[in-house]
């Protein structure tokens, strides 16, 4: 019972913090580029504004278009509940493993891509086509990174991996872990539509992946889609932070440990956010057909991660 309440609280915290991360990256980027930038809580204000606005839906769209934001948001929240933010649940952890996380996120993307095609606009179709291409090409890297993690822990469940990494830090800090982390970081950039794969701050011709796909959304639908996107970013960051550097994650219920875990995860995610902000200020967007090269590089890294974990264990 106490675990159920704890998981619920953790998930709500996840959902509540997600827009803050987006806001922080935007603010950080602005500071790095010499601008003052909007405050960190700007995304919350935008969400509130969008929830109050009218829903405008294309005449050609069907129920798929109206259902998709709920599916995307639902899958993101479901995934958030499976990812340990500050503590590791024991019984709840067995509901879904990393493969479930990946395929739940794919379910959301699947519906969003369908919604992109549903309005009949060439922007939506183009975005859907490109998004599915990028997602399909990241799948092998994700699967192999999971494989590399599971090799050391002998489990694909997130809680087990964290427990195992904490128990045997030397093995976990090997080359394999580092390579898998790098591979997964590139995947994070691709899956969440960041530079150099996609540009999250424009809608039109220059980027044309994620933002083109969701171009037709307005009002609360857009709010749900944007919130889900922010949540996905936080999910990937927390996976990267807590599976590769799990120290600090709480296994029990002592308040001191939980507070420490919370502070540490804010620190870890904050460092990743600064890394992304620096990266986005330093690199330019890749041409669309150069993206597969980057993704295959990340695949090779993941494969090497598996090999080195395997040979060095």
């Amino acid at each position: 019972m106490i675990e159920a309440i704890a998981v619920l609280t953790q998930t709500l915290a996840f959902v509540a913090l997600a827009p803050g991360l987006t806001g922080f990256i935007r603010w950080m980027k602005a500071r790095l580029q010499g601008r003052r930038g909007a405050p960190v809580w700007q995304p919350y204000v935008e969400l509130r504004k969008l929830f109050a606005k009218e829903r405008v839906v294309s005449k050609t769209a069907s129920w798929v278009f109206r259902a998709a934001p709920f599916v995307v948001f639902g899958t993101s929240v479901a995934v958030a509940s499976l990812v340990p933010l500050v503590f590791v649940p024991t019984a709840y952890d067995r509901i879904g493993d990393l493969f479930a996380v990946v395929y739940l996120l794919l379910l959301g993307t699947f519906f969003l891509a369908l919604a992109g095609l549903d309005t009949g606009s060439p922007f939506g179709g183009m975005g859907a086509s490109r998004e599915m291409t990028v997602v399909a090409l990241t799948e092998p890297t994700v699967a192999l990174s999971i494989f590399a993690l599971a090799l050391t822990a002998q489990s694909t469940n997130l809680g087990d991996i964290i427990r195992q990494t904490v128990a045997e830090p030397v093995r976990a800090l090997g080359t394999g872990h580092l390579l898998a982390f790098t591979a997964l970081f590139i995947v994070t950039l691709a899956e969440t539509g960041r530079l150099p794969i996609d540009n999250p701050s424009t809608h039109l011709e220059l980027t044309m992946i994620h933002e083109a796909m969701v171009l037709e959304y307005s009002g609360p639908y857009l709010a749900l889609v944007e919130w889900a996107a922010a949540l996905k970013l936080l999910i990937f960051f927390v996976i990267a932070a807590n599976l590769f550097l799990p120290w600090g994650v709480a296994f029990g219920w002592s308040p001191a440990r939980l507070i420490l875990a919370f502070l540490l995860i804010v620190l870890k995610v904050g460092m990743l956010a600064v890394l992304v902000a620096v990266l986005e200020t330093r690199v330019a967007k890749l041409r669309l057909f150069r993206v597969p090269e980057l993704l295959s590089a990340s695949f090779v890294m993941a494969l090497l991660a598996v090999l080195s974990t395997f040979l060095l264990r």
């Binding site: 639902g74 509940s81 490109r130």
Partner: protein
């Protein structure tokens, strides 16, 4: 006991009765109903047989020794493995039979529905008996019944040139499969009088390792060409679109699975498994089939051919599971091997459901729009809402999206591959991560492909008058598809009940040792042994449903403003037309560029300009084609050689009766001479 002994003859009686009575039916309309009735009786009885054998785990035997006693007579012996495949057959044939009643109405007056009814029931009979066969004679007889009947079913629309070509490819490949299977059985049989499978098991034990290897290779080639593994898959994308849709559903969903049955029966039941290279071969063949199947599906704009290529992909996934199981089995890791085999069986069952569903839903579309070309569809979700929902469920299942059944079985395959790292030989174990990568890529591409298939066919605006005028399909066709959609959902959500049942099926396979701890009381979780991973599809489904429900309710509470309908935003253009929509070719374009080395597309761009000025373009024609180059490399020489031999042989056939009499006499002399030579 009684139920079983009645059900097996009832199953045969249903199919045979349906076949014979359909042939003598007074009208096409009567033939349609009789065909369906016979098939429904047969498949319900088949389900009863399968259920009884699976529950009691006792084999059910029926022998008719008088039929061709020299060959061993007809022997039906249903053990749990056979019963599992019998259930797969029946699960596909029941909806297909119901579906056929309305679907075949379109053929009235075009082709004989009496003959169709005969062949349809013979086809179902053949498939069911293959799963039940207890000796070589029965197996080969049923195998040929199944192959020939399905050939005639493919040829239903024989007035179309494409269909006749497809039929030729199909019959050639299916006879090739028989040619490899006969020597395989000959090698296995210990003596001419001992052809029961129990005898083959004894015979296999006495074979040398080299001969066992040859038997295995013959089985992979023979059964593999029926299952449609690359490069023996060439008949699938040709024959499946040509056949009537419910026949495609049966061929793609059920018949090709009997190839998998053959491999399991021969390699792991009769021969008890073999050295690691057996599993290695299966793993390679499976990975290549999975990836190439989906890559060619992506380039396909014929809805049914796209589904046919996806069958190649899914057969590949099943064989990856088998291969992983086989390698682990040969290293003595019995418990882990069971995950691989169970994953293969699970995906077999699941693919039968979602591929059957997709073909039936595609059949609805073809029935109403009279085209298979996706570029002429669009907007069907408004005219055919139920068909659209059915196709969406099928798409999500085949793209392995939770909480449907495709996800649960692919998860099992991943777990089996993960288990491969327990193999003590690193050079062998390193094959497993590569297979993981290929499987993950295939499943990601499958998701992209089904966004294309559903999005282009069913969403946005109609791209042709056919699509704009389409109506919802007749009720019987929808009911049949809903049965399979229900199965997709139940098999996905109920994974934790299905998987222990599959472990029990595997207990009946001779060469496998199933850890009794593996089949615990069905709970909420699927557990891979040694705690590799845990998953609870039912809880994921509940979690997802409750979160979506809470979100919907909350948003509608907070937001009370009405919905406003408006035009799609289009940068200021006046009106939106279907020509502005993204096409299927455009959707697949980025992936075609990424995999250009494989596809080697041919492109032809012609721009015609105004005679006075090159700046006024009058028309642009762009054609592009992707042809599987390895098919040309592999099959063209064979086809050319076949034609050359055919031309040579033609000289013997002059049409002169005298010459034929000479042949008869010569043959007689030769026969007598040979008897004299070898007494």
């Amino acid at each position: 006991m009684m139920a079983g002994s009645v059900a097996l003859p009832l199953m045969l009686g249903g199919y045979v009765g349906g076949a014979c009575l359909a042939l003598v039916a007074p009208s096409s309309r009567a033939a349609r109903y009789i065909t369906a009735l016979g098939a429904i009786v047969g498949s319900v009885a088949a389900l009863a047989v399968a259920a009884r054998v699976l529950v009691t785990a006792q084999p059910l035997v029926l022998t008719v020794p008088n039929v061709l006693a020299a060959a061993g007579g007809l022997v039906l012996s249903v053990d749990p493995l056979g019963a599992f495949f019998l259930a797969v057959v029946a699960l596909g044939s029941l909806p297909a039979a119901i579906y056929g009643v309305s679907y075949t109405a379109a053929y009235e007056g075009r082709s004989s529905l009496q003959f169709f009814g005969l062949m349809f029931n013979v086809f179902l009979l053949g498939m069911s008996v293959v799963a039940c066969a207890g000796n070589i004679f029965t197996f080969v007889l049923a195998w040929e019944l199944m192959s020939l009947a399905s050939y005639f079913l493919v040829m239903t629309e024989a007035d179309v040139v494409e269909t006749r070509e497809a039929g030729l490819w199909y019959i050639a490949m299916t006879q090739f499969s028989l040619v490899t299977l006969l020597p395989m059985f000959l090698l296995l049989a210990p003596g001419a009088e001992r052809t029961a499978f129990a005898d083959l098991r004894v015979g296999a034990a006495h074979l040398t390792p080299q001969l066992r290897g040859i038997v295995f290779l013959l089985a992979v080639v023979g059964f593999g060409s029926k299952a449609g593994v690359v490069p023996l898959h060439v008949w699938l994308p040709r024959a499946h679109p040509a056949a009537p849709s419910h026949v495609s559903a049966l061929m793609s969903g059920v018949m090709i699975k009997l190839g998998i049955y053959g491999v399991i029966r021969v390699a792991f039941d009769l021969m008890n498994g073999g050295p690691p290279w057996w599993g290695g071969l299966l793993l390679v063949v499976g990975s290549v089939s999975a990836l190439l199947g989906v890559l060619y599906a992506l380039m396909e704009h014929d809805l049914k051919r796209l589904l046919a290529y996806h069958s190649v992909e899914n057969i590949g996934i099943i064989i990856i599971g088998l291969g992983a199981g086989a390698i682990l089995h040969s290293y003595g890791l019995q418990t882990l091997a069971t995950i691989g085999f169970a994953a293969a069986l699970y995906h077999t069952l699941n693919h039968a459901c979602f591929k059957g569903l997709l073909f039936l839903a595609a059949g609805n579309v073809v029935h109403r729009t009279h085209t298979r070309n996706m570029e002429e569809m669009g907007g069907l979700i408004k005219q055919m809402p139920q068909t659209a929902l059915l196709f969406l469920i099928g798409s999500a299942a085949i793209a392995a999206l939770p909480p449907l059944n495709g996800f649960a079985s692919e998860w099992m395959v991943f777990q089996a591959l993960l288990a491969g790292t327990s193999i003590p030989r690193p050079e062998v174990a390193l094959g497993f991560p590569v297979a993981v990568g290929m499987l993950a890529l295939a499943s990601g591409l499958a998701a992209a492909c089904f966004v294309k298939a559903f999005g282009i066919s069913f969403l946005a605006m109609p791209r042709s008058a056919h699509a704009a005028d389409a109506r919802e399909a007749p009720a019987s066709m929808r009911v049949a598809a809903w049965m399979l959609a229900g199965a997709c959902i139940l098999l996905g959500v109920g994974a934790s009940v299905v998987v222990p049942a599959l472990y029990r099926v595997l207990e009946s396979v001779g060469g496998l040792v199933v850890d009794p701890q593996l089949a615990p009381a069905p709970g909420l979780w699927i557990e891979a042994p040694r705690a590799l991973g845990h998953l609870s599809p039912v809880l994921i489904a509940a979690l997802l449903a409750s979160i979506v429900l809470v979100t919907v309710v909350t948003v509608h509470r907070v937001h009370r403003r009405p919905l406003r309908l408006s035009d799609t935003w289009g940068c200021g253009r006046i009106a939106q037309t279907p020509r502005m929509e993204y096409t299927a070719s455009a959707f697949a374009e980025p992936l075609r560029r990424v995999f250009a080395e494989l596809y080697r597309p041919t492109q032809d761009l012609t721009v015609s300009v105004h005679p006075d000025s090159p700046h006024f373009v009058q028309s642009i024609t762009f054609t592009s084609e992707v042809r599987p180059w390895f098919e040309e490399v592999l099959y063209d020489p064979i086809v050319r050689a076949g034609r050359l031999i055919g031309v040579g042989v033609r000289r013997l056939q002059t049409g002169s009766v005298h010459l034929y009499l000479v042949y008869v006499v010569a043959a007689l002399m030769a026969a007598l001479a040979s008897v004299w030579w070898w007494p």
